[in-house]
């Protein structure tokens, strides 16, 4: 098991070192691809062989838990898909060897930070790694060095850093609460905070939790702290958007969920769950409002990410076996599906040379294969059957009916329908709208690097929609006990 963990971290670290050496563009591409394949293999192995109970190693600094492994697996999957897609996409941008070295080095660093964060047993160290993901990815967002992308990466850095400082304050207060019972010095771990939570006054627990929720919620893109997200996701190169959305958001949600778990069994638990559900529903509302009148294709996908993160948070907020299982299933489905959508959006943006939905027309006539994949992805992403997200969203709604927050279920259902209708309306106009103007006809041909990851993700979400393996459900139940 430890070998899998070592491969998971050392391979991308080695790849970063290699990226510093001079070499052709192709070498950087393939080194990154190899690193991603190794990471995917290692994360899958870790998921399968790790014991059901969390295990602490390396003097208590690293925790190998089913939930952490799940988040790592989601990140590993997105990293692999993105690495395949990057080869095709970055070739269109015609990078020099130096630029390729910088891009792939940063991408590997970004992936590494997301693979490390879920395994941190010390909430403070987890916070620091999350902060590092922000710094690395800010450079990736601004990679194209256009005015908009630099503006987006600046906003991203400032908003997320100040949000994260609130969660640091929350962590300090959590630890302080513990010092009244465990003495001034005790090891700061998830387990220690959990064990002492019952003795800390509920009001302090709740204050700390709300600070953590706002802080990591900023990073996860929950409304109303989401304002950086549509900018960062729309201005970075498409592979970066896929990583930001598919992998990073889950990693930040992990922090919220672990702190929520710490409160379980205390008097602060019920209001904390309520706060999580409220913030999730509000994210859904904001996403729905902005999806209806959206004009930018990647911003459309970004608001859909806010919607999905809202649903995942709501799932954990509902809690119980079904809520937790649904939310975890939603994490993987979101990772796969959102990667597919950003890949499609990247292809469309490059071939139509525009980010605007109005300029993208008759996709199916020009691109029958990728067009079909993208359209199916769009049906899937709105939660329609027979795809994975349908399964996970239904599970979460079912969990909601029996939870203490059942009031929100009908509201969520209405918002999901609004999102479905408006999302499909945008795709209707892109697929069946009037012809584009003559000078804007797309002529670009897609290489297999741009199509293969789309096939892979669509197949996976279709399989996950048609068949929810019983082993996976069992795994979610076990993981739910030790978040």
């Amino acid at each position: 098991m430890l070998i899998a963990l070592e491969i998971l971290w050392t391979v991308p670290a080695l790849a970063i070192v290699i990226s510093f050496f001079r070499g052709g563009r192709a070498r950087h591409e393939y080194v990154n691809l190899l690193s991603a394949a190794a990471v995917f293999g290692a994360s899958l192995t870790l998921l399968i062989i790790a014991p059901a109970r969390p295990r602490v190693v390396a003097w208590g600094y690293i925790i190998i838990s089913p939930f952490g492994n799940w988040v790592v697996f989601c990140a590993g999957t997105v990293y692999l898909l993105t690495s395949i897609y990057s080869i095709g996409y970055m070739r269109i941008l015609n990078l020099t060897a130096n630029q390729a070295s910088r891009f792939y080095g940063l991408l590997e660093g970004f992936a590494l930070s997301m693979l490390v964060a879920p395994c941190m047993n010390n909430p403070g160290l987890y916070w620091i790694v999350i902060d590092l993901t922000t710094i690395i990815s800010a450079f990736l967002v601004g990679f194209e060095r256009e005015a908009e992308s630099i503006e987006a990466s600046w906003k991203y850095l400032i908003i997320v850093s100040s949000g994260l400082s609130l969660s640091l304050l929350g962590i300090v207060l959590f630890y302080w609460g513990g010092t009244f019972h465990l003495g001034p010095v005790y090891s700061m771990t998830w387990a220690a905070l959990h064990s002492v939570a019952g003795k800390v006054p509920p009001s302090l627990l709740l204050t700390s939790f709300l600070l953590v929720l706002i802080g990591f919620g900023t990073k996860a893109g929950l409304a109303p702290m989401h304002t950086w997200l549509p900018d960062a996701h729309s201005e970075g190169p498409a592979p970066v958007s896929a990583m930001l959305s598919g992998a990073l958001l889950n990693t930040a949600v992990l922090g919220i969920v672990r702190f929520l778990h710490i409160l379980d069994g205390t008097k602060a638990s019920v209001p904390a769950h309520l706060a999580v559900v409220i913030i999730g529903v509000f994210s859904l509302l904001i996403a729905a409002m902005f999806i209806v009148r959206q004009q930018g294709i990647k911003r459309l996908m970004a608001y859909s990410s806010i919607e999905h993160i809202g649903i995942i948070t709501i799932g954990f907020g509902f809690g119980g076996i079904l809520g937790t299982a649904g939310a975890m299933y939603q994490m993987l489905n979101h990772s796969l599906n959102k990667s597919l959508m950003f890949f499609g959006a990247g292809n469309a943006m490059r071939s139509y040379k525009s980010k605007e939905i109005d300029k993208i027309r008759r996709v199916l006539s020009y691109y029958p294969v990728t067009g079909t994949l993208w359209l199916l992805g769009a049906i899937a992403i709105t939660g329609a059957p027979p795809f994975g997200l349908f399964q996970s969203e239904v599970a979460i709604l079912r969990a909601g009916i029996t939870s203490t927050n059942s009031w929100s279920v009908w509201l969520i259902a209405v918002l999901l329908i609004v999102i479905f209708v408006s999302f499909m309306n945008h795709f209707r106009s892109m697929y069946f709208g009037l012809e584009p103007e003559a000078n804007g006809l797309p002529t670009m041909q897609f290489s297999c690097w741009l199509e293969v990851p789309m096939w892979l993700s669509l197949t996976a979400i279709l399989v996950l929609g048609l068949w929810w393996p019983s082993g996976l459900l069992h795994f979610f139940i076990e993981a739910g006990k030790s978040l």
Partner: protein
């Protein structure tokens, strides 16, 4: 939390240092010259370093001496130096279009301190904390945090935003020394390192902003909406 009984001299010293940190943050709210902000920030960091050393001395936390030295070096000298260099390179020396005038800014700051005090007293009541130093630390922590956010909200220059963020972090750092002096030393070291990376990253990005977007004022960064 500091559990050793403190003499009246120590208590006065701690209160004085925390008050000084708060007052210095008002210098930042009240002035529109970036150089003044940076000097106030540097002084505030030195005050916090002295506080670390005092906590180390009176509370017998030897590790905090190292933290005190590092705080003085990193926050008190290196970060202000990097920021000053940035101000000189960009040739932007003051806030041109502040949202608030100095007087209104300071009044708002004072109100925020009152809010911070009310919040900490209520937490203190709930936890039955009678230790006045702990309450003072909570007030200073929340107060600096709110003032940091105020700086970020009412200022539009990119460097003011960085400084606002640093004030917030200073607040957390200050509070955590009193409330949880036994907080893993490793963590504080890493946070210092993290701050350094953040400031360098900000430095690079601000220069990109100037080159590619032509401005470093958030009031002119209006391209991305909706």
């Amino acid at each position: 939390m500091l559990t050793v009984p403190l003499g009246s001299l120590a208590e006065s010293l701690f209160s004085f240092l925390m008050t000084a940190a708060l007052v210095l943050s008002f210098v930042m709210v009240g002035s529109h010259w970036l150089r003044n902000h940076i000097i106030a920030f540097a002084t505030e960091s030195w005050v916090i370093a002295v506080l670390s050393a005092s906590v180390a001395y009176y509370g017998h936390y030897q590790e905090l001496y190292i933290i005190a030295v590092l705080t003085a070096l990193f926050r008190g000298m290196l970060l202000p130096y990097l920021l000053l260099r940035l101000v000189n390179r960009l040739d932007i020396h003051r806030e041109f279009r502040p949202l608030f005038r100095p007087a209104s800014g300071m009044l708002t700051g004072a109100l925020l301190i009152v809010v911070a005090f009310a919040l900490s007293s209520s937490i203190g009541d709930k936890l039955k904390v009678s230790n006045s130093i702990a309450l003072m630390a909570l007030t200073a922590m929340f107060g600096l945090m709110l003032i940091g956010f105020l700086l970020m909200v009412v200022r539009s220059e990119a460097i003011s935003h960085i400084l606002g963020l640093l004030v917030i972090e200073n607040g957390i750092f200050l509070g955590s020394q009193i409330l949880i002096p036994g907080f893993a030393i490793l963590l504080e070291l890493v946070i210092l390192f993290d701050l350094l990376i953040i400031v360098m990253t900000f430095g690079i990005l601000v220069r990109y902003l100037k080159t590619h977007a032509g401005t470093t004022s958030s009031q002119e960064l209006q391209k991305l909406v909706g």
